[in-house]
């Protein structure tokens, strides 16, 4: 009998119900996140359909090399996250900790590249506001494109920072041998969050970096 399993919170009947409740709760939260980013994507769609040329022109000022590298890095971090959850399912805390450290490393690399990208935009006077300088017939519309670029990638990066902070906690927990085949729900839920942030970038990459028709 498992009534007094050390990982079972007292409000749940058993570990199954506890696990179901935590994943269900995380998915409900992710739906609110879908709607949050959905609003940004809707605004993007409205302005891009109104000023398609300005958005394509602005996109040419984003670095395909850096954006593409970050896409590969982030998808790789989703792989290491999935492998970390799998190790937790098997109760292998050592492997869980190492996979999560790899995920944290890749996520940090993503953020470092993002900082370099933002710095380039600062040097090139492409940050919307009084410092924005752009030669061309539709400079104001390009400025709007960069508003969306910074709002969308900025909110995404903020989610990455939160995820990185959570990862540190989970690495410490795994190193303290907290997880077992009976109790790995928290790692599973952390994985759901990380993969969601990955999916947001999967849409941001083609919509921001790949619309300038480079040849």
């Amino acid at each position: 009998m498992a009534e007094h399993h050390s990982a079972l919170a007292h409000q749940f009947d058993d570990l199954t119900q506890q696990w179901d409740a935590s994943t269900f709760g995380m998915w409900v939260f992710l739906v609110t996140e879908i709607m949050f980013f959905g609003g940004l994507f809707a605004g993007y769609a409205v302005y891009r359909s109104a000023y398609p040329d300005a958005f394509a022109e602005g996109s040419l000022h984003l670095s395909l090399a850096l954006g593409g590298t970050n896409t590969v890095i982030l998808i790789a971090s989703s792989l290491t996250m999935a492998l970390g959850v799998r190790a937790a399912q098997l109760g292998d805390n050592r492997a869980t900790a190492w996979w999560l450290i790899a995920t944290l490393g890749l996520g940090s690399a993503f953020l470092v590249i993002k900082v370099f990208e933002y710095h380039h935009k600062y040097v090139e006077h492409l940050i919307p506001g009084p410092g924005f300088l752009f030669e061309g017939p539709h400079a104001r519309q390009v400025e709007m494109m960069f508003c969306f670029y910074f709002a969308m990638t900025g909110m995404h990066a903020l989610h990455m920072v939160v995820g990185a902070g959570l990862l540190i906690y989970f690495i410490l927990q795994a190193r303290a041998n907290r997880y077992s085949p009976d109790y790995f729900g928290p790692v599973e839920v952390m994985g759901l969050y990380w993969h969601f942030v990955d999916i947001v970038w999967i849409f941001l990459f083609p919509l921001l970096y790949l619309i300038g028709h480079r040849r």
């Binding site: 009998m1 498992a2 009534e3 399993h5 058993d14 570990l15 199954t16 696990w19 179901d20 994943t23 269900f24 998915w27 409900v28 992710l30 739906v31 879908i34 709607m35 959905g38 609003g39 994507f41 809707a42 769609a45 409205v46 359909s49 109104a50 395909l64 593409g68 896409t71 590969v72 998808i75 790789a76 989703s78 792989l79 996250m81 999935a82 492998l83 799998r86 399912q89 098997l90 085949p181 599973e188 994985g191 759901l192 993969h195 969601f196 990955d198 999916i199 999967i202 849409f203 990459f205 083609p206 919509l207 790949l210 619309i211 028709h213 480079r214 040849r215």
Partner: protein, 103 residues
Amino acid sequence: MTHTTHHIEPQKIYFGVFGALMVFTAVTVWASMVDLGPLSIVVALVIAVCKALLVVLFFMHVRYSRPLTQIVVAGGVLWLIILLVLTLSDYFSRGWLPAPAGW
């Protein structure tokens, strides 16, 4: 207690999904350099949706989740579609009828 038998994917499935995601990424970059006219946004979004599906079904385990979780996921996507379709149908249809004179 009722013991949950969680499905544990073989590692090679995760590596396979990662490989497919890399291929899709390469294809979307390549497609963006070909002049497809108005089709290019369609191609980019179809590829992105395929990638998202791979992540949701395999990495996020929705393939093996309980029906309740699957309904929540589908519901979230449905509401996102409502948000996008109603917003865009408003903006796209604004020029269809002339504003009445005298307003």
